[in-house]
C-alpha cells in the first residue's frame, strides 16, 4: 500500500492531498478505535461487576444464618412433675420460664416476666421435651442446656440492628437489652452452628425455620423430572436424528420442540393447573405434579442436547456397523447410543439444573403452601427450594432476610455442583474424531 501510493505521490499533486487527509484523520480514527475498544471492555466489566455484586451481597447477607444465637439455661427437671408417665405432657413452658426466672430472680410482675420469656424461642419447649423423652436419666437433675434464642435476640446479637433506628435494638425493649447484656457477660449467650436450618422444615418463627423440607421436596420433584424427561427425551432425539425421514411431520415436531424450549415457564404452570390438577384430579402441591410440569419444560432442552450429541458421532461408526450386518436399530442401540450417551447426560444435568431453579410454574400448581412437615413421598404436599426462597423473601421479619439469603447460598451451591458435574462429565468423555 505504501509503495503504491508513494510512487504516485511524485507525479500527481492531488494524490498528496489525499494522503494528507488520511494522515490528518488518523489520530481521530485511532481515538475512535480506542474508545470503541473501551466500550467493549466496560461492557464486560459491567456485567462481571453485576455478577459479583449479586453473589457477594447475597453471601454477605446470608452467611450469618448458618449460626444461630443460643442461650444457656440451667434446667431442673423436678422428679415430682416429670415422671415417665407425664414426661410427654408436662408443662415445659413453665420449665423454661422457671429456668429463666432463676437467672433473673429480681424480675417481678407479669409484663416483665413475659418480656423475659420472650427472649427464648418457642422452640426451646420442644427441645426440652425431646431431651427429657430421649434421656430419662436427666429427670431429677439440673442440666445446662443451650436453647435457641428468639429471632429478635438473634438479630440483636449478630449486630443486624446497627443501622435501624430505635437505638439499635429493633423490637427489643430497653430492659430486654439490659438482660441480654448481662447474659452475654455471664457467657450464657453464644452463636452456635445452626443445625435446625439444615434439618427442619418451614416455620413461622425464623429461628426455627429450616430448609430440609424444601430440599426433600426438590429431591422428589427432580426424581420425577429425571425419570420422565431423560428417557423420553433421549428416545425422541434418537427417533428424530436416526430414524425419521425428512417430511412435513418431522419438520412439525422439530419446529415444535424448538418453540417449546422458548415458551415462558409460567405457561407450563397454566398447563399443569388445567390438565394435571383440574382434568386428571392429581393432588395439589405434590412433587408428582411439580415433576410432571418440570419434565415437560426440561424435555425440549434434553432433546436438543441429545440431538447435538448424536450428530457428533461420525457416520463412519454407523457405516461400519451396518457393513457387518447390523440392523438399523442394532446400529443405533449398540454403537451410536453408547458413544453419544455422555453428551446426552451432560445436557440432562444442565436441564435438571434449570428445573431445580424454576419457581413460576410451581406457584401455579400450589407448591406455595406453607408446609412444616418433611414430605415422605411423591403425593405428600411439599415445597421446593426456590419456592421456599420466594416465600421467605415475602416475610416481614428481619431475620428472614438472612434465612432467605442463606437458602439462596445453598441453592446456588447445588447448582454449582450440578454444573461442575456436567463439566467434569464432558471433560472426561470428550472425544475427538
Amino acid at each position: 500500500m505504501n509503495n503504491g501510493s508513494g510512487e504516485r505521490r511524485n507525479n500527481s499533486g492531488s494524490r498528496i492531498r489525499t494522503i494528507e487527509i488520511v494522515n490528518r484523520s488518523l489520530p481521530g480514527r485511532y481515538r475512535a478505535e480506542r474508545r470503541f475498544r473501551l466500550y467493549g471492555l466496560l461492557a464486560v466489566i459491567a456485567s462481571l461487576t453485576f455478577l459479583s455484586l449479586l453473589l457477594v451481597s447475597i453471601f454477605v447477607k446470608g452467611y450469618t444464618a448458618f449460626w444461630q444465637t443460643a442461650i444457656r439455661l440451667d434446667v431442673t427437671f423436678d422428679p415430682e412433675v416429670f415422671t415417665p408417665k407425664t414426661v410427654q405432657t408436662a408443662d415445659y413452658h413453665g420449665l423454661v420460664a422457671r429456668s429463666l426466672g432463676g437467672l433473673f430472680p429480681e424480675v417481678e410482675g407479669r409484663s416483665a416476666r413475659r418480656e423475659l420469656n420472650a427472649l427464648v424461642s418457642t422452640g426451646a419447649v420442644f427441645q426440652l421435651r425431646r431431651l427429657a423423652m430421649d434421656n430419662p436419666e436427666v429427670i431429677g437433675r439440673t442440666v445446662s442446656v443451650w436453647v435457641p434464642a428468639d429471632d429478635d435476640v438473634d438479630m440483636w446479637f449478630k449486630g443486624h440492628f446497627d443501622q435501624e433506628g430505635a437505638a439499635g435494638r429493633g423490637r427489643l425493649s430497653e430492659r430486654q437489652v439490659a438482660w441480654l447484656e448481662r447474659l452475654a457477660a455471664e457467657h450464657r449467650i453464644q452463636k452456635r452452628f445452626n443445625h435446625s436450618f439444615f434439618t427442619s422444615g418451614d416455620s413461622r418463627e425464623p429461628e426455627l425455620a429450616g430448609i430440609w423440607g424444601a430440599v426433600v421436596g426438590s429431591f422428589y420433584t427432580l426424581i420425577v423430572t429425571a425419570v420422565l424427561s431423560f428417557p423420553i427425551g433421549v428416545a425422541a432425539a434418537i427417533y428424530l436424528e436416526e430414524f425419521a425421514f425428512k417430511n412435513r411431520w418431522t419438520d412439525l415436531i422439530e419446529v415444535n420442540i424448538n418453540n417449546l424450549a422458548a415458551v415462558p415457564s409460567i405457561v407450563f404452570g397454566l398447563l399443569g393447573l388445567a390438565v394435571f390438577l383440574n382434568l386428571f384430579g392429581l393432588p395439589r402441591s405434590a412433587p408428582l405434579v411439580g415433576g410432571l410440569v418440570l419434565s415437560l419444560m426440561t424435555l425440549p432442552v434434553i432433546i436438543i442436547a441429545s440431538r447435538a450429541s448424536l450428530q457428533s458421532v461420525p457416520p463412519s461408526v454407523r457405516e461400519a456397523a451396518l457393513s457387518v450386518g447390523a440392523s438399523k436399530v442394532q446400529t443405533v442401540m449398540h454403537h451410536v447410543l453408547p458413544l453419544a450417551l455422555p453428551g446426552m447426560l451432560t445436557g440432562a444435568i444442565i436441564g435438571m439444573a434449570r428445573a431445580l431453579g424454576e419457581t413460576a410454574p410451581l406457584l401455579m400448581i400450589g407448591m406455595v403452601a406453607f408446609i412444616v412437615d418433611i414430605p415422605r413421598g411423591f403425593y405428600d404436599p411439599a415445597t421446593v427450594l426456590p419456592v421456599q426462597i420466594f416465600l421467605w423473601a415475602d416475610s416481614p421479619e428481619r431475620a428472614f432476610v438472612e434465612r432467605t439469603s442463606a437458602a439462596i447460598v445453598v441453592l446456588l451451591a447445588f447448582l454449582l455442583l450440578m454444573n461442575a458435574a456436567a463439566v467434569i462429565l464432558r471433560r472426561r468423555f470428550e472425544r475427538r474424531w
Binding site: R37, S57, A236, M364
Partner: protein, 462 residues
C-alpha cells in the same frame, strides 16, 4: 393387590417371560442344529415374549385406572338416598369430597351423616372389588398373551423385526410428546380463555383501560366491580421489557464484540463462562436481589435527585431483568459475529480500515440479522419472565410510562390471580388464562420470527 404392587408383579412376570422365550428359542434351535439356524438371536425371542407379556397388561391396567374412579363414584352416587341426588352440582361435589376423604382417612369438613358413612363403606367395598378385578384381568392378559407368543416361537419367527418395530413405535411416541405438550398448552389455555371471553367481551379485554380483577362477593360490596381492560397490564409489560432491553442490548452486544474481536484468548476463556453464570442463576434469586438491594437503591438515588420513586418501581425490576438477559444477547451475538467469515474482515483491513471501523461497517452489518434474531429471543424471554417482576414490580395496574412508578405485568397478574383460593367459574380466575393465552401467542410469534431470522442468516455463509 394394590396397583403399585401389581406393577411390580408385572415386572417380575415380564422378566420371567424373557427367560421363558429365550429358553424356548434355544430348545427349538437345539432340534435343528444350534441357535445359528434361528432367524433372530435368542435374546430377541426373549424380548418379544417379555413385550407380549407387558404391553397388553399395561394397556388394560392404564384403561382401568383411568376409568375406575368415575365408575365407582357414579355407582356410589346412585346408591345414595334421593335427597342427595337432587342436590345442585357444587353441593354434590362437596359430598363426594367428603366421601373420598372418609375413604382415605382424612379429616372431614363436618360430622358425617350416617348415609355418607355407609356411602364411604360402599366406596371402600367397590374399590376392593375393583382392585381384585384389576389384578385378575391384568395378570390374565399378561399370562395369556405370553403363552400364545411363547408357543409360536419357531426358527422362522421374525422376532427381531417385531421387537425393533415395537422399539421404533416407542421412539415415535416419545417424539410426538412435544406435539401433545403444545396441543395441551393451546387447548387448556384456549378453553379457559374462551370461558372468560363469554363473560368479558374480547374488545373490552384488549382495548379497555381499567384493570381491577376483584369481583364482588356480595352485591353491596364497595370497590370490587371487576374490570378487565388489559391495556395497563400490557403497557406495564412493555415498559419493563423496554427497560430490560435498554440495559441488556448495549452491554450484551458490546461484551460480545469485545470478547469475540478484541479479547485475549485467556481472558475470553475466563470471562465467557463467568458471563454465562448470569444465565444459570435462578430467577427467584434475581427477584430477591431486585426487591432487597436494587429497589431500595433506586429509591434512595431518586430521593437524592428529588424524584418521587415508588418502593416497587418498574425501573428496579427492569434493571435486574436486563442483567439477567445480558448473557442471552451476548452469547447469541457472539455466535453470529464469529460466523462472519474472516475474509470480510481482511478485505476491510486491506482497504485501510481500523479494527473498529471493520467491525462497525462490515462485521456488524453482516451479522445484523442474527443479532436482531437474538434480541427478539431476549425480548420474548423478558416478556415471559415472572419471578423478578412478581417480587419487585408491584401489583398496581397503573397506566403509565414513568419508570419510577409501580407497574404490573402479564406474568405478575397470572400469578396473583391464580395463587391462593380459586373458583373456576369466576372471570377473575379465568382472566389469568386469557392473559396466559396472550403471553403464549406473543412469545410464540416472537420466537418463530427470531428462529427464522437466525436460521436464514446462518445459511448464508455455509
Amino acid at each position: 393387590m394394590s396397583p403399585a404392587s401389581l406393577l411390580v408383579v408385572l415386572l417380575l412376570l415380564s422378566s420371567f417371560a424373557y427367560y421363558l422365550g429365550r429358553r424356548r428359542a434355544f430348545a427349538v434351535a437345539g432340534k435343528i442344529g444350534g441357535s445359528r439356524h434361528l432367524h433372530s438371536r435368542p435374546t430377541y425371542y426373549g424380548s418379544l415374549t417379555a413385550l407380549s407379556c407387558a404391553v397388553p397388561a399395561l394397556l388394560v391396567f392404564g384403561a382401568w385406572i383411568a376409568f375406575e374412579d368415575n365408575v365407582i363414584t357414579s355407582l356410589v352416587l346412585s346408591d345414595l338416598p334421593q335427597s342427595f341426588r337432587n342436590l345442585p352440582e357444587e353441593r354434590l361435589s362437596l359430598v363426594i369430597n367428603d366421601i373420598r376423604n372418609l375413604v382415605n382417612g382424612n379429616i372431614v369438613s363436618s360430622r358425617p351423616e350416617p348415609s355418607i358413612l355407609t356411602a364411604a363403606a360402599r366406596y371402600r367395598e367397590y374399590m376392593d372389588i375393583s382392585h381384585k378385578a384389576l389384578t385378575a384381568f391384568t395378570l390374565s392378559a399378561a399370562g395369556l398373551s405370553m403363552v400364545v407368543v411363547a408357543r409360536r416361537i419357531s426358527p422362522a419367527l421374525r422376532a427381531r423385526n417385531y421387537v425393533e418395530r415395537a422399539l421404533v413405535v416407542f421412539l415415535v411416541a416419545c417424539s410426538t410428546l412435544a406435539i401433545f405438550t403444545t396441543v395441551g398448552i393451546v387447548f387448556s389455555v384456549l378453553f379457559e380463555a374462551l370461558r372468560f371471553f363469554k363473560a368479558v367481551p374480547l374488545s373490552e379485554f384488549l382495548f379497555g383501560f381499567q384493570w381491577s380483577p376483584q369481583i364482588a362477593i356480595r352485591a353491596d360490596q364497595v370497590g370490587a366491580s371487576g374490570a378487565f381492560g388489559a391495556v395497563p397490564v400490557f403497557v406495564g409489560t412493555l415498559l419493563i421489557t423496554l427497560i430490560a432491553m435498554v440495559v441488556a442490548v448495549p452491554i450484551g452486544l458490546f461484551s460480545a464484540i469485545y470478547l469475540s474481536e478484541y479479547a485475549h484468548r485467556k481472558f475470553r476463556d475466563v470471562a465467557k463462562p463467568l458471563l454465562e453464570i448470569l444465565a444459570g442463576i435462578p430467577t427467584v434469586v434475581y427477584g430477591f436481589f431486585a426487591a432487597l438491594m436494587v429497589a431500595p437503591f433506586v429509591r434512595r438515588a431518586g430521593e437524592y435527585f428529588g424524584l418521587d420513586v415508588a418502593s416497587e418501581s418498574a425501573l428496579a425490576a427492569g434493571l435486574v431483568m436486563g442483567i439477567m438477559i445480558i448473557p442471552f444477547v451476548s452469547s447469541l451475538s457472539d455466535d453470529v459475529i464469529n460466523a462472519v467469515p474472516q475474509s470480510l474482515r481482511d478485505g476491510a483491513y486491506s482497504l485501510g480500515a481500523t479494527q473498529s471501523e471493520a467491525i462497525k461497517h462490515v462485521v456488524l452489518p453482516a451479522a445484523l440479522p442474527g443479532i436482531v434474531g437474538s434480541i427478539l429471543l431476549a425480548v420474548s424471554r423478558a416478556i415471559g419472565e415472572t419471578m423478578i417482576v412478581v417480587m419487585a414490580a408491584g401489583l398496581a395496574a397503573n397506566l403509565t410510562l414513568n419508570p419510577l412508578k409501580a407497574v404490573t405485568t402479564v406474568t405478575v397478574q397470572i400469578v396473583t390471580l391464580l395463587v391462593g383460593d380459586q373458583e373456576f367459574d369466576s372471570p377473575k380466575t379465568l382472566a389469568a388464562f386469557a392473559l396466559g393465552l396472550v403471553l403464549f401467542l406473543v412469545t410464540l410469534v416472537l420466537n418463530i420470527i427470531a428462529l427464522h431470522v437466525v436460521r436464514r442468516y446462518r445459511e448464508q455463509y455455509e
